[in-house]
């Protein structure tokens, strides 16, 4: 095995055997693995729900499921993908990589780390159990606007509220752990401006989580009180205001969308330099751009509610503030392009996913700019154009970045190279599937097809059929990913400790697979 001289290799301290290894583990690599498998399971669960939605929308009319169940599917799909798939996947990557990237032996608070993971399966078991309850699962959309989620909600809404509380606690504990690790556990010489960008983006994301997850907990608590304790936070008859719900929700909700994309920026900023064989262009501008995006995310939330009846000044302020976000985001996109410019590029699977991320995320960013134009938003609001926009930033955005990261670090985790051809097949199937699914949604959205409706007018039939075919291609190609990961864990050509061609970062100085304990003595960073 290719062991570097400066790495202390402690074999006597390996993992415990059996199931208790995973239950009681405080090892950041084990917990990272748990998070990643959990999020993959949720990705497939939420994906099945998406396929049920797309199967129903394959043709106009009601064929497979009833509208009530359709609404439950859209709601659960959104909640599971946001809180169960994307967020835990990033936390899993953070658990695996952050200590190795900053030269720490483990996360700062390993016991809390164990706890923050093990809350999640219970939260989602509770959430999914609502599907089998009388009255059905939550059916009010993942944004759970009051009074749909209070006065008109199915009885299972209380389980939903407690599930959200538990997920919130888990995310907050994860965020505390990440901040403490990055600020306190860095190896000597690892100054803030030497941190890899994945670490930087996660640090900023963790602060966003600390700031907004409690607000989400607050808003669901208010719902709970309205439903069970006779308060009227969102009930107009008692002097409350349903629009207030939207304000509080989106005060959480907008930073939340950056929580789901900033770590993706970080992953892509690690991968592109490696395969372009150049240093990242504009490192410090990347850091400042990420911080500006995080700051701006707190003052744009009202652009989700342009149509509630705002005064003109409000519409203008939030319109311009939203457009302002395009500036730091543009800085990042240009930096990635400049990194690739005149690089000696090769196109291994992680790079393919990273480039697809840059291109397709930018498309999603541009449709976001279109939605930011307040007068035009009155036409786009609650149509498939919005669905196309946020799926472009979340699927080929966040999800592709997660996949890129998994391909990039998989040899480091398992000690084997993944089968490259199979990876490329997975990429191209996903790429074609994603675009086939979501690109036509722009057109049917502009033509006026409303979202969250199980049936539609005949003129939308062709594009919907295309979208459904694309969804099934994308969905089933994820099974290639699953098989590839299992194959790579089981065996494959052994990976070197560098894995790629002269990558930068401390994680490439330790052997592959990464030993159970790394950096028990901190490395020197020059």
């Amino acid at each position: 095995m290719n062991t570097m001289a400066k790495v202390e290799h402690t074999e006597h301290h390996g993992p415990a055997a059996g199931l208790t290894r995973w239950l009681y583990t405080t090892n950041h690599k084990d917990i990272g693995t748990l998070y990643l498998w959990f999020s993959f399971a949720m990705f497939l669960t939420g994906g099945c729900m998406a396929l049920m939605i797309r199967a129903e929308l394959f043709q106009p009319g009601l064929q497979l499921i009833q509208p009530e169940f359709f609404n439950q599917m859209t709601t659960m799909h959104g909640l599971i993908m946001v809180f169960g798939a994307v967020m835990p996947a990033f936390v899993g990557l953070a658990n695996w990589m952050l200590p190795m990237m900053v030269g720490a032996p483990d996360m700062a608070l390993p016991r809390m780390n164990n706890w923050s993971f093990w809350i999640l399966p219970f939260a989602f078991a509770m959430m999914l159990s609502t599907l089998f309850m009388e009255g059905g699962a939550p059916n009010f959309g993942w944004t759970f606007y009051a009074p749909l989620s209070t006065t008109y909600a199915p009885p299972s809404v209380t389980y939903f509220i407690f599930a959200v509380h538990m997920m919130g606690i888990s995310s907050i504990m994860g965020a505390i752990n990440i901040i403490a690790t990055i600020l306190n556990m860095r190896a000597p010489g690892m100054t803030m401006m030497k941190l890899p960008l994945f670490v930087w983006t996660w640090l900023i994301t963790a602060f966003l989580l600390i700031a907004v997850m409690p607000v989400l907990a607050g808003v669901v608590t208010m719902m709970l009180m309205d439903i069970h304790f006779g308060t009227s936070f969102f009930n107009a008859a008692g002097g409350g205001d349903p629009v207030l719900f939207q304000h509080i929700f989106w005060f959480f909700g907008h930073p939340e969308v950056y929580i789901m994309i900033l770590p993706a920026f970080g992953i892509v900023s690690e991968i592109i330099p490696t395969f372009a064989r150049k240093r990242l262009f504009g490192y410090s501008s990347m850091v400042y751009a990420t911080s500006s995006i995080a700051f701006l995310s707190f003052i744009v939330w009202v652009h989700h509610m342009f149509t509630v009846g705002l005064p003109l000044m409000g519409e203008l302020f939030f319109m311009y503030a939203t457009m302002l976000i395009a500036v730091p985001t543009g800085v990042k996109v240009f930096n990635w392009v400049a990194t690739m410019f005149r690089g000696s590029m090769t196109f291994e699977t992680p790079m393919l996913f990273a480039i697809a991320f840059v291109v397709l995320f930018t498309i999603g960013g541009f449709s976001g700019l279109m939605l930011a134009i307040a007068p035009a938003d009155f036409q786009y609001h609650d149509t498939y154009f919005v669905v196309a926009h946020f799926h472009y930033v979340l699927v080929p955005g966040a999800v592709f970045a997660i996949m890129a990261g998994v391909y990039y670090w998989l040899p480091k985790w398992t000690g084997h190279y993944y089968p490259e051809t199979m990876g490329k097949v997975h990429f191209w199937c996903s790429f074609i599937g994603v675009n086939l699914t979501f690109f036509p949604m722009h057109f049917i959205g502009l033509a006026g097809m409303p979202r969250r409706i199980p049936d539609y007018a005949l003129q939308f039939a062709d594009f919907n059929m295309v979208a459904s075919i694309g969804a099934f291609i994308f969905g089933f190609s994820q099974l290639i990913f699953l098989v590839l990961i299992i194959k790579t864990i089981r065996g494959g050509s052994p990976a070197t400790s560098e894995v790629w061609d002269e990558p930068h970062g401390l994680e490439w100085t330790i052997p592959s697979p990464a030993p159970y304990h790394t950096f028990s003595t901190p490395p020197e960073v020059k």
Binding site: N184, I248, G309, P311
Partner: protein, 200 residues
């Protein structure tokens, strides 16, 4: 090992700070509720009308007229018949105007209702002063009873000139089952009971 210990202390104080910020942000979520109300009241956004009686302006502006449209909405399962007596009135700014809504309880039960007003465009909300309004009180109606519910308002002459039409919408909520309505249900007379808000 000495450095490990100090790292632990650093971690502990950081966890304390971060948990404290979480608690503060949780509180901030709740603080948004009164903040939102105050913000709406100061700016007159969201069509919330709170000005009543005493601070109504005097002296009318005969140079322009304002159309006031009156809309009646029943909330969810509210079975009452509820409509404005005249759907639109024309007033001079500064002139007191009397209007009325008609409510009829078609059920066989005594019921209590509460009307919630809203003004559109929302900029106009702060210029619409209600001297007296049935929306200040809970409205009990016996079975099959019909009542005319009065409304006396003044439009502030300060109303921006680009606003020529104001829509005043009342949503009628059934509050029979709430605690506040108990006293109304017990009293034999159908006189509206004051909720303690300003009436003339």
């Amino acid at each position: 090992m000495k450095p490990v210990k100090s790292a632990q202390q650093k971690n502990r104080s950081m966890v304390r700070t971060l948990i404290l910020s979480c608690v503060l942000m949780f509180g901030f979520g709740f603080a948004l509720v009164p903040l939102y109300d105050v913000f709406c009241r100061i700016t007159g956004l969201n069509g919330k009308v709170l000005n009543t009686g005493p601070n109504a302006p005097t002296g009318s502006d005969k140079n322009r007229t304002i159309r006031v449209q009156m809309i009646a909405v029943n909330n969810e399962s509210m079975p009452w018949e509820f409509r404005a007596l005249s759907p639109m009135v024309t007033v001079y700014p500064g002139e007191s105007k009397q209007a009325a809504y008609l409510a009829h309880n078609p059920t066989s039960e005594k019921m209590v209702a509460q009307a919630i007003p809203s003004v559109s465009p929302s900029e106009a909300a702060q210029y619409l002063h209600k001297v007296n309004c049935f929306c200040f009180d809970r409205q009990p109606l016996d079975s099959l009873e019909t009542r005319e519910m009065p409304l006396l308002f003044v439009i502030d002459p300060e109303l921006p000139t680009y606003i020529s039409t104001i829509t005043l919408s009342y949503t009628l909520f059934d509050i029979t089952s709430t605690k506040a309505a108990e006293s109304d249900l017990l009293s034999k007379s159908a006189q509206p009971n004051s909720t303690g808000r300003n009436t003339l």
